[in-house]
Amino acid sequence: MKKLMIGNEAIARGAYEAGATVATAYPGTPSTEIVSTFADYEGLYAEWAPNEKVALEVGVGASIGGARTLVAMKHVGVNVAADPLYTFSYTGVNAGLVLVSADDPGMHSSQNEQDNRGYGRFAKMPVIEPADSQEALDFTRLAFDISEEFDTPVMLRVTTRLSHSQTLVETGERVEVGLKSYKKDAPKYVMLPGFARLRHVEVEKRILQLKEYAETTDLNRMEWGDKSIGIITSGVSYQYLREVMPEVSVLKLGMVNPLPEKLIRSFAAEVDRLIVLEELEPVIEEQLKAWGLKVEGKELFTLLGEYSPEMIEEVLLGVSSGKGSGLDQEIPPRPPLMCPGCPHRGVFHTLKKMKLHVMGDIGCYTLGALSPLDGMDACVCMGASIGMSLGMEKANGEDFARKVVAVIGDSTFVHSGITPLIDVVYNQGTSTVIILDNDTTAMTGHQDHPATGKTIRNLPTRKLDLPALVKAIGIEHVRIVDPLQLDEFRQTLEEELNRREASVIIAKRPCALLVKKAPDKEFYVDPELCKSCKLCIKIGCTGIYWVEENRKAVINPNTCVACGLCPQVCTFEAIKIVEG
């Protein structure tokens, strides 16, 4: 019987069936479940790499070494891995390598919505885009063959909606392809200028061969219907289109780079009106325009966000399905927020009180930027906080640096916080860096990393010693403190900020969601003592809420985990432990 699988599980299954023996990744929504699923297959190698660059480099080595290899990351992870990627396109593969880029139109869980099909054009590699989980499995399998046939890495490009939608999948049997033999071949794999010039010739030949392949592959298919409109589309947009316009003619592209020019021209010749339907950038449309085809695209459809069936219906059919419920009511927004007991809350509460300039980073703690904590000045990409804090200091001087902190999670620090910290030491910065060490990669669903001491399969391994690492870099002042002990945390932070030397504070406390045991006490707000000052409300915890009728704070026993933060914030000692 067919099984329901999210797109990410189907990709892992496709790699498994294709005989892949190595899979690497750094976790990142919406890509995370790909390699965590692959790790469930026994006897194969899977790893969480410290970052996407390393993940791809391990993949490159495995491919050259002869193993079919799957590498997965979110769209912005490909930026981190772009350096090896562009040159790996020159060397080509030995055994097949498929790089999954999981893009996030609509930014469900990302800092931008870049369109990674662009990488395919820049790196001159094939890009394949499935439209449901069955295609995710089948296309992944096929991608390994394409990789080997054309001696190229292949990008499998998916989006959040594909990665996290379950659709029915018919699985197949695994093919044991075995290891390809490894032979030293320096002109192919050593990219010195003299060798690379020759490889570039091969890359240009290859992209022409891939263009020919694109003309005939089953990955691209025409579905004829009403020829007054012909729509070229790919990915989940195809499903939205079919939902609202089952009758139109469609050229569904499964291979979005390189494009099949002849096929597209023959499709264009048959239809009265040619439209490209693609989320985000006009990647397909602009190429068609460069060929001189008359085509509509982004003048109809937005460059912004995720598409939907009703949006396509509205643009192409002029019907609006959103009639409105008739509920005339403003609905307060519900942004995500830190969990009750979250160790980050203690940090951001303190940073706000001290009115510091906070250079932030990527993780659950980025939520510290939101009201009521309002505790972040800038957040750009993984690892940027430390470099930004040094830049702030170099721009404004050492006195200003007494008011600047960098805040970075443990997994993010290992990902790309180490080199900027070396820069701080090397260039005599006096930054104060807080590593929020919650012993996991929390935001993406609790993956292990080098500093947790466990592998992707939850097996023990040598644990990266963060304090020793930081000291080895040349930071002399390393403090470890519990961020939910507010007085101690604040005192430590003041001391290190005032020091005209670089220092690192490790705010150490496990993620509240990892704490399995029930709280050993219960708190309540004594209404006699509560002076309605709302200080406890301003920590932004769902464990405590405000009741306007009597103007008192109340603990919610269902959500409170008794972390003890709000009693420390209350200046009237109104929050007490329930006796007995």
């Binding site: 469900h108 996290h164 009703e310 509920l327 932004g540």
Partner: protein
């Protein structure tokens, strides 16, 4: 088998267990031989944000997401979320609301007000609305955390899918030690909605 696709929209607050509910319903639809698609939310929104799971089943399903004004049933784990997603309900659709209030951040901090009687206002607007205290019912079954399975029971009764199939799916997806409570919670939910329907 009905040609028409059934659209089930399940909404709530990250952490309330909407994912398990949508997966149970989807699994049952698979066992009944339908084409099925489910759209889920993972990642940042799960941290206490507004979350939505969409289950679509029928003879042939294309889009994994439901169009506005096209959901046959809206199951809300939280009252405000019912209101937020009400635009997605089709005319004549059903609404099931868990009588649970979870204040979003702007309300907790006093910047905005939680709309009073929001569930009753929805019930006035949508004739086929059922409001239930699933948390209390789950508590009575032995564990308040089985509230999502109470809601599965109500959903199963509302969209008329066979209880036996749902119970099998629950057996597959729920850990053994929690099974008994969950099965009881499911049956209570189912009974509750059937009784409500009979009163109508």
């Amino acid at each position: 088998m009905p040609k028409q696709t059934t659209n089930v929209l399940i909404v709530g607050v990250g952490g309330q267990g909407t994912l398990l509910t949508s997966r149970i319903i989807a699994q049952v639809a698979v066992q009944m031989g339908y084409d099925v698609k489910v759209s889920e939310i993972h990642g940042m929104a799960q941290r206490g944000g507004s979350v939505v799971s969409q289950v679509r089943y029928g003879e042939r399903v294309y889009s994994p997401i439901i169009k506005k004004s096209d959901a046959d049933i809206l199951l809300a784990f939280e009252k405000l979320e019912a209101a937020r997603w009400l635009d997605y309900l089709k005319p004549g659709g059903k609404v099931i609301i868990n009588d649970e209030r979870v204040d979003p951040l702007p309300v907790m901090s006093g910047k905005l007000k939680y709309p009073v009687d929001i569930d009753k206002r929805i019930a006035n607007l949508i004739p086929d609305t059922t409001i239930v205290d699933a948390t209390r019912m789950a508590e009575e079954c032995g564990n308040s955390r089985a509230a999502n399975v109470v809601l599965v029971g109500m959903l199963a009764a509302a969209i008329n899918i066979p209880a036996e199939e749902v119970e099998n799916a629950i057996r597959e997806m729920v850990p053994a030690k929690a099974l008994e409570v969950n099965l009881k919670a499911f049956r209570e939910g189912q009974k509750y909605l059937s009784a409500t329907l009979n009163r109508l």
